[in-house]
Symmetry: C2
Subunit: 346 residues, 2 copies
């Protein structure tokens, strides 16, 4: 029955004794098709191991059954390794797509590139998830463009009152506050913050603001010498820690805006003869897989990547269907491990 070329809906129609239109309807689950007819079509499909050609169907129907994950990164970051936190998000998004029967197209974009144009216009996907890092003020304009041209997309990141787009992110403010409150409970009085604290990096900034709120609520001094910029990498964490130490302002706790920063800082603290948590308490953010295994185990804030992936995909699907979707913040929960138990011996 199989001709020389691939099996098409015409072959199925022939075998099932119906028209090609009916095959198409039966396969798309149209209610217009008689049950008996549908069964015969189904049998023919199985007999010939037929699959609908996605390109033909997408071309005609103007939707693709595909979602795109646009992963963008700041080109300044070391190219060889992907942030483990994003890797984990990627895994979770992939699973969520599979569950919904959508394909996932993945694309890495150097931050400098014209990523908004590429996907939106070539219509490869029904919707886009944006995931990455970089200077928010740099790409905010592009988000506005995407919104203006009607692209269906969602962003993972900070949820801000004045943003142009819809985003899903962790509750960074509460996460940051929880860390600082925990430090204060442990008896820490001079808590440093390692990470960018400006609207260029709104997720870090929210973590900083939560931290600052807790510090001030406790009547402690918010010393600007105790904040050092860092992006999310071990190397940057090392540098920030060196900067902090060089200032010679005393501190008894370090809140790193990400686990990678914390891991870098931990190395530098050890090299300077400072023991964590005996001399300095330490905490990170993200709960990457490595956090449990560093020595001492790292106190951090868990971002629920599994839930995040599902919410991102479900919301995007709703957006595509034209249903109303709002930005959403996921709870971020403090995970206390040994690194923050100030004063304790190893």
């Amino acid at each position: 029955m199989r001709g020389k070329g691939k099996t098409t809906s015409f072959d199925i129609a022939h075998l099932a004794g119906v028209s090609q239109s009916t095959v198409s309807r039966a396969l798309r689950g149209s209610p217009l098709v008689n049950e008996e007819t549908r069964r015969r079509v189904q049998e023919a499909v199985e007999a010939l191991n037929y699959k609908v050609d996605k390109h033909a169907s997408s071309l005609r129907a103007k939707h693709t059954g595909t979602l795109a994950l646009l992963f963008f990164e700041d080109p300044t970051v070391d190219e060889s390794h992907i942030n483990p936190f994003f890797l984990s998000m990627l895994g979770s998004i992939t699973r969520a797509c599979a569950r919904q029967g959508y394909d996932l197209l993945i694309s890495f974009q150097q931050f400098s590139h014209n990523w908004h144009a590429d996907f939106a216009d070539s219509k490869k996907a029904d919707g886009i998830i944006l995931l990455g890092y970089g200077d928010y003020l740099d790409y905010c304009g592009r988000l506005e463009q995407l919104v203006a041209q009607g692209t269906r997309f969602l962003r993972w990141g900070a949820v801000l009152p004045d943003q142009p787009d819809i985003s899903v992110g962790s509750d960074n403010f509460h996460g940051g506050r929880a860390v600082a409150e925990h430090f204060i409970e442990q008896g820490c009085r001079r808590i440093a913050f390692l990470g960018d604290a400006s609207s260029h990096y709104p997720e870090f900034f929210e973590r900083y603001r939560g931290y600052a709120a807790a510090v001030e609520a406790a009547g402690l001094e918010l010393d600007p010498r105790l904040q050092a910029n860092a992006e999310s990498s071990e190397r940057s964490g090392r540098e920030a820690m060196e900067t902090l130490l060089a200032r010679e302002a005393p501190f008894d706790a370090v809140f790193a805006a990400s686990d990678l920063i914390a891991i870098g800082a931990l190395g530098v603290l050890n090299e300077h003869g400072l023991q964590v948590p005996r001399d300095v308490a330490l905490a990170g953010f993200d709960d990457i897989p490595t956090a449990r295994f560093v020595n001492p185990p790292l106190t951090t804030v868990l971002q629920d990547t599994r839930q995040a992936g599902e919410l991102l995909v479900d919301s995007l699907l709703r957006l595509i269907r034209g249903e109303p979707v709002q930005s959403a913040m996921l709870p971020a929960s403090l995970v206390v491990r040994r690194s923050s138990l100030y004063g304790q011996l190893r």
Copy 2:
């Protein structure tokens, strides 16, 4: 100039004052097109921000500019986490695709599913990379089917003399041998192996065979009580370690077939009051990001995921072009950290 619908090659043709066929040729880089004409077309493309419709072009030209990564996993494994080693491969493959201008379609398949049919027949991708784990003897038949139906695909995994398909993998035998030789140099005499050692899991089996070769070459006994099955997970590593301890056969080193297994084993050793590396030397395989951070830092075998991703993508592209491609083995290098320095105090 833009009609109500999307911009098509006809709009470009109109604006550039040429036929639609010429636009198509110019855009595909055909040598038949006059340079001046090509320039005019290019201008029109930019003026209208035109993108070729991928579905239309794929439908017609029968190739998609897309590669698929089929990630399959054994359903027995905990669903929530992806093996960090595979996550790293995924990152590297994604980057390699981007560099080659190909899109990457990612799909997770429960191992039980009919993954061979899905992609091959619906022609969503020009070629497939298979990545995952599971019982080789279970899926070997499917590989044969894929080959028989002419699917362009490559598999990450063991490179065996009698396999039906083309694969790229690390040199597991030499990696395993290097670990055992290193243990022997440290003075270890009774080296245990944690991991499946049968043709069901050929990568682990090759690591085992390398280990066994070194043990025998050194004139040491290969005691079957010192081998316990495990799949690549922390939990399974814990169970295997418990099994090994319950046998009460003495051992002074443990070679875990993966880092995840090693990390599980390390926990159990500690719980039983055995210190690594003072009482027992320990090594893993993969060099996942966490390996450097466990306490003590884990000796392991580095699989070069970056090179692996590039080779996989480059080879698949050659395969698609009809060029000859062979299975390839990548060097795997021993990374010595503290966990294997038998007898040393922490």
